[in-house]
Amino acid sequence: MIETFIWLLAYQFIGEVIARSLGWPVPGAVLGMLLLFLTLCARRGVPAALRDNIPRLMTHMSLLFIPAGVGILAFWPMLSAHPLSLPLVLVVATLSTFIITALVLQLGLWWQARGKAR
C-alpha cells in the first residue's frame, strides 16, 4: 500500500511541477495520469504495487466527490437566482454533449471497421 501511494503521489507531483513551470492550464494530476500511462507503455507492464491495489480503489471513486457535491451548499444563493432556467440549461447542455459525443464515436467506429473490412 505504501509503494502504491509513492507511485501515485510522485506522478502527481511531477505533473504539478511540469504544469506549473510551463504555465499550462492543465491540473498536475491529469498530466501525471498521462505520464504514468506513457511509463506503463514503455515498461510494457504494470508493477505489482499498482496492479493489486488500484481496482478496489477505483470502485470507490464516488466517495471523493462527495465534498465537492456538498460545496453546492456554499453557492446556493448564486444558484437559486435562476431556479428554473439554470437546471434546465445544465440538463439540456449535458445530455446533448453526451449524445453528440456518443454518436460521433459510433460513427467513427463504424467508419473505421468498414475501412478495415475492405
Binding site: 511509463t39 477505483m58 466527490f65 465534498p67 434546465l88 447542455a93
Partner: protein, 235 residues
C-alpha cells in the same frame, strides 16, 4: 468549550460524516440495484448537507475534515492510467474514432451550454461561467477566469453537470441502443468528467478507463478551444 462547539470545529466530524454518508449511499444504491437515480455522489452529498444543517455547521467547518478525502482525488486521477493501460489493445484499435469523438464533444460541451443559456436570456457573466462546465473543476475554474466568468460559479456548474451526466449516462446509451463499454465511457468522460467517470467505474472497468482518458483530454481541448468558441458565440 461546549460539546457542540467541539463537534462543529473538529476535523473528525467532516471526515466521519463523509465516510458514513458514502457508506449509507452505497447501501441504498445496492438496495435499488444500482438504479441511476440512486447515485452515490448525489445521495451522499444530500445526506451530508442534511446533517450539517442539523448541527448548524457551515461548509468551511465541514471541509476541515472533508478536505482529506478531497485531496485523494489527485492520486486517484493519476491511477486512471492503470485501467487505461489494461485496455491498450482497444485504445490502439479505436484510437482515431475516440480522439475525433472527444474533440467533437469538447466543442459541443461549450457550444450547447452557451447556446441554451442564450436561449434563456442569461446575463453574460453567467454564460461565461457556464461555458467550461463539462470539464474537471480545476480546469473549469481556470478557463472561467480567462473568459471573464466567475470561477466559483463554474465550479458549482461542474458538480451539477457531473451529477446529471452520472445519472443519465446508462439510460442514454441504452435508449440509443449502444452496447459498447467504450462508447459509454468516452461519452460519460466528455460530458460528465470525474463524477461521470466514478459512476461508470461502478458499471465496468473498461468504461471507467475510457471515461478517465476522455475526461483528461476534454479538459485539455476545452482549455484551448473554449476562448475561441466563446469569442465567436458572444461577439
Amino acid at each position: 468549550m461546549s460539546v457542540l462547539a467541539w463537534v462543529q470545529g473538529s476535523p473528525l466530524t467532516g471526515l466521519l460524516l463523509t465516510l458514513a454518508a458514502y457508506r449509507a449511499a452505497l447501501a441504498l444504491s445496492r438496495r435499488y440495484h444500482g438504479h441511476p437515480l440512486a447515485n452515490t455522489v448525489l445521495m451522499g452529498a444530500v445526506l451530508v448537507i442534511a446533517v450539517l444543517l442539523l448541527l448548524g455547521m457551515d461548509f468551511q467547518q465541514y471541509m476541515k475534515g472533508a478536505s482529506f478525502i478531497q485531496f485523494l482525488l489527485g492520486p486517484v486521477t493519476v491511477a486512471l492510467a492503470i485501467p487505461l493501460y489494461n485496455n491498450l489493445g482497444r485504445l490502439r484499435k479505436s484510437g482515431f474514432a475516440i480522439l475525433l469523438a472527444i474533440v467533437a464533444g469538447s466543442v459541443a460541451g461549450v457550444v450547447t451550454a452557451v447556446c441554451s443559456g442564450l436561449l434563456f436570456d442569461m446575463p453574460r457573466s453567467m454564460l461565461l461561467s457556464l461555458a467550461p462546465r463539462s470539464v474537471t473543476t480545476p480546469i473549469a475554474m481556470g478557463v472561467a477566469e480567462v473568459l471573464g466568468g466567475i470561477p466559483a460559479l463554474s465550479a458549482t456548474f461542474v458538480i451539477v453537470t457531473g451529477i446529471i451526466g452520472a445519472i443519465f449516462a446508462k439510460p442514454l446509451v441504452r435508449l440509443m441502443g449502444m452496447h459498447d463499454d467504450v462508447v459509454l465511457g468516452v461519452a460519460t468522460g466528455v460530458a460528465a468528467h470525474g463524477i461521470g467517470t466514478a459512476r461508470v467505474f461502478q458499471l465496468s472497468e473498461t468504461a471507467g478507463a475510457f471515461a478517465g482518458l476522455a475526461m483528461g483530454l476534454t479538459g485539455l481541448f476545452t482549455a484551448i478551444l473554449a476562448p475561441i468558441l466563446v469569442h465567436y458565440l458572444l461577439l
